[in-house]
């Protein structure tokens, strides 16, 4: 006989409710346990310590003291329940007898953390029968020094006593660390480092008015600037003989990059060759000394032209033109492809009739404006200008007192090229 058992409907609902409740409970436990697990992992990482021991005086090789000090530190840490992880030795400390956190921090920042939550740096120095150790606790996760202590002990017969005293001074600091009194949060909204690129090799870089370093290998890394992200920073770059860069750059990210334009060499002197429409059978040279580089200059020009005798019974005439002027660039700066400068000055054209002894013609003139368009090609340039000259008509002259121009009404127009230094 087969007995059929029929479950009461109320019992069935209760079981289903129980299963649902259990599921929710499990999920709740998982949700609660996950952060606890993360907290536990973080606490575990705080107990992993990388010990860095280095002499402050890099000229003295003292591996014995280093080894003894390391052993003492590691024993003390293990006594306090911390785990020491292995790591590479740091780069040498800068040769200075004064312990300096500012000098040590970059060294610790350059050490690979190997998963440690703490780097404990011990920078020691034996000097004047005293034993100094500068202990630094450094958080490699946020690159921040947490604290430190300077231990000092009298040198004994052996180094052990000094080490023991120093480590004893360190132990309370470690205990405070473990108690959570040293705590660093990763800064938010601050720029950690600025990489400056471009400019010119060996240029000094200034943030606002503070020198932050010199460009080497095309870059300069400026750590720990602590500007707020989004700050507009005034950056200056200077190098003797070059135009200064002075500009505003945004700092858009924690690790910002500033691309400096190439620095342009200042022009102190240039030489030019010119040819003048209206004085065509000739050629001229010019030299300019820049009183203010690429801005204000003094010029000296010479142009020589020969007018062949138009018939067999006429003589050739040689023209020697000299002028001295001062000029200034008025439109666009030295980086521009096209620039404009104006100038003024005085000059004279000496007309010498070849083979005729006697007086030469002298046409003195004033240069009025001399507006010059220049095509800037770096160290060389091309230029074009009308020679706006008013002749004074003094002495034995050919032109009289008037604007120098040809009978077609055109002033002489000069075109030429310059090379600058």
């Amino acid at each position: 006989m087969m007995v059929a058992r029929v479950m009461h409907p109320r019992t069935h609902r209760s079981q289903r409710l129980l299963r649902t409740t259990a599921t929710l409970l499990v999920l709740l436990l998982i949700a609660i346990a996950a952060p606890l697990g993360a907290q536990t992992a973080a606490a575990e990482q705080r107990r992993r310590v990388l010990v860095v021991v280095a002499p402050l005086d890099e000229t003295v090789a003292d591996s014995v003291t280093s080894r003894i000090l390391r052993t003492g530190i590691e024993q003390m840490l293990e006594r306090n329940g911390m785990t020491v992880v292995a790591g590479a030795e740091p780069a040498a400390v800068a040769p200075s007898r004064v312990p300096s956190e500012r000098r040590m921090t970059p060294i610790l920042g350059s050490v690979e953390g190997h998963g440690a939550g703490l780097i404990l740096g011990a920078f020691f120095l034996n000097a004047d029968e005293q034993f100094f150790v500068q202990f630094v606790l450094y958080d490699p996760t946020v690159n921040v020094p947490l604290g430190g202590v300077l231990a000092r002990a009298r040198q004994g017969l052996t180094v052990f006593a000094g080490v023991e005293t120093a480590v004893a001074d360190l132990e309370p600091v470690v205990e405070r660390y473990l108690a959570g009194e040293y705590f660093a949060e990763e800064p938010e909204g601050l720029v950690e480092s600025v990489l400056v690129r471009g400019g010119s090799e060996s240029a000094d870089v200034f943030f606002i008015d503070r020198r932050v370093g010199r460009i080497a290998g095309g870059t300069l890394l400026v750590p720990f600037v602590q500007y707020e992200i989004g700050t507009s920073l005034r950056v200056l770059a200077e190098k003797p003989g070059y135009h200064r860069i002075d500009d505003i750059f945004p700092l858009p990210a924690r690790e910002s990059v500033i691309e400096l334009p190439p620095m342009v060499r200042q022009t102190r002197f240039d030489l030019g060759l010119r040819w003048t429409f209206g004085m065509a059978p000739g050629v001229g040279i010019a030299a300019r000394v820049h009183i203010v580089p690429d801005t204000l200059f003094v010029s000296l020009e010479h142009y020589r032209m020969i007018q062949p005798g138009p018939s067999s019974d006429a003589r050739d005439v040689q023209f020697f033109d000299y002028n001295l002027g001062v000029g200034r660039y008025i439109l666009f700066d030295y980086r521009s492809r096209v620039r404009l400068h104006v100038g003024t000055g005085i000059g004279v054209t000496v007309s010498d009739v070849v083979g005729l002894d006697g007086r030469d013609y002298h046409d003195w003139y004033v240069m009025v404006g001399e507006p010059t368009v220049e095509l800037n090609l770096g160290r060389s340039s091309l230029f074009l200008r009308p020679d706006l000259r008013y002749t004074l008509g003094t002495g034995y002259n050919t032109l009289g007192r008037l604007w120098m121009r040809t009978p077609y009404g055109l002033p002489p127009i000069s075109a030429g090229a310059r090379v600058s230094w």
């Binding site: 018939s311 006429a314 009739v353 034995y396 032109l399 040809t406 009978p407």
Partner: protein
């Protein structure tokens, strides 16, 4: 039907235009501001000391330079130096002096007017006796000294020297004929002329008259459209005179040739019948200096060009050959004179700034 231009046909036109542009551009760009006559520089003479001796006071000095020449006389270069005439207490005082040179710039004389009320000025013309008429003063043709003064007629124009006519009716006396606008007129349509003869040593005014440039019924209504008389040349081979006139309102320079015997006989009605009838007409705005010879005329333009135009030396007037042009001088205060007589062909320039007189060899 659609007609399309062929690129092959257009190519020669483009090439021709480009060539024309290149030639024109080259000419424009290769021209210098400096005079082309510098290479013809010949002799220079510093007149600073002599001019200081005439006048070293305040005020600017006016200068005028002319060459007088005939076929038989030695040419003379006359530089008129006219200091300011104001004189504080005594009012007007003419201080003008005439520096008389030969063609080689040898100074012959520094001549003053014979009387205090006389002045120097146009005309500058040789008389048939070898003496020179300057304004109303007769100068000795050899040494430039003042000889006598004629009645002042107020006619300031060019003159020609007539030694005799080749064709009947032959005139009995050699003479000098001067052409001028009526005194005080800036432009006009009539020329006054006067003929001087020289019996023994006394200049006589033999005849004078009016020579219409245009017939009275065919003239513009405005006197401003009238003419100025620039220079004149006498063609001894056929007794003709070529007159060079300026019409500033157009502006142009015109030339006309007429028979001098017909003028003296009174048979010449007018120079031309209408405005457009001048045989020579050239665009030119009030030239700064002109000089007329039998072979052509020189023009110093205000834009600095020096032009020389050749014309027929006798017979009907017309231009021959192409214009000869050089870069000249744009200065308004310099004065130029030209000598074109036989083997002596020179241009003279006087520069008030340096007060240096320069002779140039012929460039035209």
């Amino acid at each position: 039907m659609v007609i399309q231009s062929s690129p092959r046909r257009a190519r020669p036109v483009v090439v021709a235009l480009l060539t024309l542009f290149a030639v024109t551009a080259c000419d424009v760009l290769l021209t210098t501001p400096f005079p082309d006559f510098l290479g013809y520089t010949d002799i220079t003479l510093d007149l600073g000391g002599r001019i200081d001796a005439i006048w070293s006071g305040a005020g600017s000095i006016d200068y005028r330079m002319e060459v007088v020449v005939t076929e038989t006389d030695d040419p003379r270069l006359l530089l008129l130096v006219e200091p300011p005439t104001e004189s504080g207490s005594s009012g007007f005082q003419y201080r003008g002096r005439l520096l008389v040179f030969d063609a080689d710039l040898n100074l012959l004389n520094t001549t003053a007017p014979l009387t205090e009320i006389d002045t120097f000025g146009r005309p500058f013309v040789f008389g048939p006796d070898g003496n020179i008429l300057v304004g109303n003063t007769i100068l000795d043709g050899n040494d430039g000294s003042a000889v006598e003064t004629l009645p002042f007629l107020g006619l300031e124009g060019p003159g020609v020297t007539v030694l005799g006519f080749t064709s009947p009716p032959a005139q009995p006396d050699p003479s000098a004929v001067v052409f001028s606008l009526p005194a005080g007129e800036f432009t006009g349509f009539d020329l006054e002329w006067v003929r001087y003869s020289v019996p023994i040593d006394e200049w006589l005014q033999l005849a004078d008259g009016i020579l219409p440039i245009l017939p009275p019924g065919n003239r513009p209504s405005s006197a401003a459209d009238g003419f100025q008389v620039l220079s004149a040349a006498f063609h001894a081979t056929d007794d003709q005179v070529t007159l060079l006139l300026s019409q500033p309102s157009v502006p142009r320079v015109v030339a006309v040739r007429f028979s001098l015997p017909a003028l003296l006989d009174g048979t010449l009605g007018e120079l031309v019948p209408s405005m457009g009838a001048f045989p020579v007409s050239i665009d030119a705005d009030r030239p700064l200096d002109t000089h007329t010879t039998m072979d052509g005329f020189l023009l110093r333009r205000r834009d600095g060009w020096f032009d020389y135009y050749r014309w027929t030396p006798s017979g009907p007037l017309e231009l021959v050959g192409s214009r000869q042009r050089i870069v000249g001088d744009r200065s308004f205060n310099r004065t130029f004179a030209f000598l074109a007589s036989g083997g002596q062909q020179y241009m003279y320039r006087f520069d008030p700034a340096s007060r240096i007189l320069t002779r140039y060899r012929r460039w035209w």
